[in-house]
């Protein structure tokens, strides 16, 4: 597996995978959107259930992106591998975007469904804090000039955040039961909604993978450019 961590091999592998990735992205999103809009209105939520098909995938990707950063950070600190640094940094803006989309779509879903654009329930609050964690992570990367130092400092911060996320969730949950907050409508999902949801989630996943690979490729090329310019100068 670590063979592919070699930048040249990564370029080769990702170059081969990318077209498939984009293809699958389009297929899944198209299928998911079609099934999503073809699905009947939910007896409770009406047609607003269609927002779920873009809200839940965004939320899933937001958390997945952070997991990617956390794992990459471990490799970054233990193996000191440049690709790990690159991958972590590449994932952050995407994760922040997914978090923002999750918050916005969640808010628009909440207003017609529960009557409020925002409720301080455990999930939404933890999610909002996740956005701040992403922004802080990105800010730390930008603030430190030395790239190696920045990578290691950011890796430490990412892992501290990762450890903290379950604690934050627990504390917000506890706080919520204290104040008897609203609870999100939960329960089993009818297959007619489950399939579009899964397809959209897969589509979002493939999109994230495609964007990640492209961003890492771009970073590798930029490093090559920098070393060429330094050699030339």
């Amino acid at each position: 597996m670590f063979g592919y961590a070699n930048p040249t091999k990564f370029m080769a592998l990702s170059g081969a995978l990318l077209p498939w990735c984009w293809g699958l992205t389009l297929l899944c999103l198209a299928g998911g959107l079609y099934l999503g809009f073809a699905a009947p209105p939910d007896y409770q939520q009406g047609t607003t259930v269609t927002i779920m098909f873009i809200h839940v995938p965004a939320a899933i990707m937001a958390e997945l992106a952070y997991a990617v950063i956390a794992v990459a950070s471990i490799f970054s600190l233990v193996q000191r591998h440049i690709l790990a640094d690159v991958a972590a940094r590449a994932a952050a803006p995407l994760g922040a975007l997914f978090t923002a989309l999750g918050l916005i779509t969640g808010s628009l879903w909440g207003r017609p469904t529960w009557g409020a654009y925002w409720v301080w329930d455990a999930r939404l609050t933890s999610f909002l804090l996740l956005l701040f964690l992403y922004l802080g992570y990105m800010a730390l990367w930008s603030a430190i000039e030395d790239e190696t130092k920045a990578a290691r400092a950011a890796a430490i911060l990412a892992l501290v955040g990762a450890v903290n996320i379950p604690i934050i969730k627990f504390s917000v949950d506890w706080w919520n039961t204290l104040h008897q907050g609203e609870s999100i409508i939960s329960g089993k999902l009818d297959p007619v909604y489950l399939w579009p949801l899964l397809l959209m989630a897969a589509g979002y996943g493939f999109l994230f993978a495609g964007l990640m690979m492209t961003r890492i490729r771009t970073a590798i090329v930029e490093r090559r450019i920098r070393s060429l310019m330094q050699a030339g100068a």
């Binding site: 927002i51 989309l101 060429l228």
Partner: protein, 54 residues
Amino acid sequence: MSALAAFFAVHGGGYGAFIWPAYAVSALGLGGATAWTLLCWRKAKARLAALEKP
């Protein structure tokens, strides 16, 4: 009634004011991110090609 009109009959209305903005924001966000990512990639490739040529 065309299929499109029937579509909007179901998916428009009161809830539409929430559904369409949600989809619009998501499309803009993801589409923008994709466009930006691909643009940066193309620019980097072009610069590398220019540097490696002479």
